[in-house]
Symmetry: C2
Subunit: 264 residues, 2 copies
């Protein structure tokens, strides 16, 4: 009845549909910690909070349940999912397995060396960033932008490997796994910057990158797979450190959805 609001068509974000906007909003709120794990998400309060009607909210809730951030209650409705530590380890393990498979397929399905141009470029850019970082003349306090840039590059590098695997199925599956908090590689990279021995860890990670590219271009499938798994396994250490440092933990999206085993 009432004109909900003046929905200006201009200046809107890239998302045009109500459902899409609601999905992004809700996901953001969940990862930001606006809701407690186990909390029941009723539709009507969300109507007031998001300014859209129940229909797109229901659609978005359904999709979030498919993604795994929510659980469908048997009696109806949705509940914010709580992630145990085991869930995190399992997600990391699964991601490692899938990224390993992607690296192996990338090497097995390589046809022309030219396909690696983009991947090498990312590798070199990452390499340049690492060296600039370790450069003694570089400012000791790393700026936020360089982290964001490293994060994007890292993301692009790993995404390129999946592209080279030439498997839409694998990409889809990996996307689903990465939607779980802490399972996304980029989610934890920022943590590294606050770690002791961060430069060394970064060096190891980038050596993995270098070796993975080498294995792919030499069609060493098993090596590429093992390397990618090991590389993904480094995230576990990041999570472990993050869990001991609340100041770090609070910067990681979805941290509030973790249900700690005993205390805290």
């Amino acid at each position: 009845m009432q004109s909900t609001e003046s929905k200006s068509k201009s200046g809107n974000s890239a998302e045009v549909s109500q459902t899409g906007r609601t999905l992004l909003n809700l996901r953001g709120m969940l990862l930001r910690g606006d809701f407690q794990p186990g909390e029941r998400l009723s539709e009507l309060p969300l109507v007031a909070r998001l300014g859209v009607s129940r229909t797109p909210i229901r659609l978005a809730l359904d999709r979030l349940a498919h993604e795994g951030l929510l659980e469908a209650s048997p009696t109806g409705g949705f509940v914010v999912r709580a992630f145990s530590l085991e869930d995190i380890w399992d997600a990391l393990e699964t991601r490692g397995v899938l990224e390993g498979a992607a690296a192996r397929l990338a090497s097995e399905r390589l046809e022309h060396d030219s396909e690696l141009v983009q991947l090498r470029e990312y590798r070199d850019e990452l390499d340049a960033m690492i060296h600039a970082e370790s450069d003694p003349e570089h400012l000791a306090v790393p700026d936020f932008d360089s982290y964001a840039r490293y994060l994007d590059l890292n993301e692009a590098f790993h995404s390129e490997i999946v592209t080279l695997a030439k498997s839409a199925m694998l990409r889809r599956t990996l996307e689903q796994v990465k939607s779980i908090p802490f399972a996304s590689p980029s989610a934890m990279v920022y943590v590294r910057s606050k770690l002791p021995r961060a430069p060394q860890i970064l060096a190891v990670a980038h050596e993995h990158h270098r070796a993975i590219v080498e294995a792919i271009e030499r069609k060493q499938g098993a090596r590429a797979e093992a390397l990618a798994r090991e590389h993904a396994g480094m995230s576990r250490y990041n999570v472990e450190v993050a869990l001991t440092e609340p100041s770090i933990l609070s910067t990681v999206p979805g941290a509030s959805l973790i249900r700690m085993p005993a205390a805290v």
Copy 2:
């Protein structure tokens, strides 16, 4: 306690909610080949065909798009997805990787030998079926029920391995992969029965089963992983044969969604 069915048709299935029933109906229709690949699924015709309103239909369509059987059109609405041969191979490859990981985790995370009781039971029952089958006095024309039973047992066996992997994440991911036509292990088992040398193939498959159990109980993770991958790889041969035999192909759910490369 009141009569819940006031306007619902007589003799509905075990599914109570309209959305659930619609989801099952639509999935069945898709796998049965009631729609052509690429066909646009409009909501209104489905209202007439399924006897429910647009709301549960929209929900079901959305879920099927998440499962991968439908694609969301950029202009809105959903179209029946066409699967290429590469999609099938990729799905089988991904399933093999995940089932391999499940077998490895099952061995790595085994705590008490007693956890294997159920798995050994399935193995022995499968074993008994195989031997009964190869028994010369057994009727040469295998009855349909025994296939159904073998199928259930096979399904239970592999599901038990995933259970032993103790990873909800892995189970979820595997479920998604198996929702693609031809990617489910049980989808293709029936094909074997019509193959030449079916007994030999069955023997190899069951030797895999036996060896996987052995590897798990001996905590030979790498061996279990390799075996499970190899076992899943057998499905590829089944699909290849099925594709050459229309009479076999027509019995496999979802076969009509395959878009053949050149001719029919």
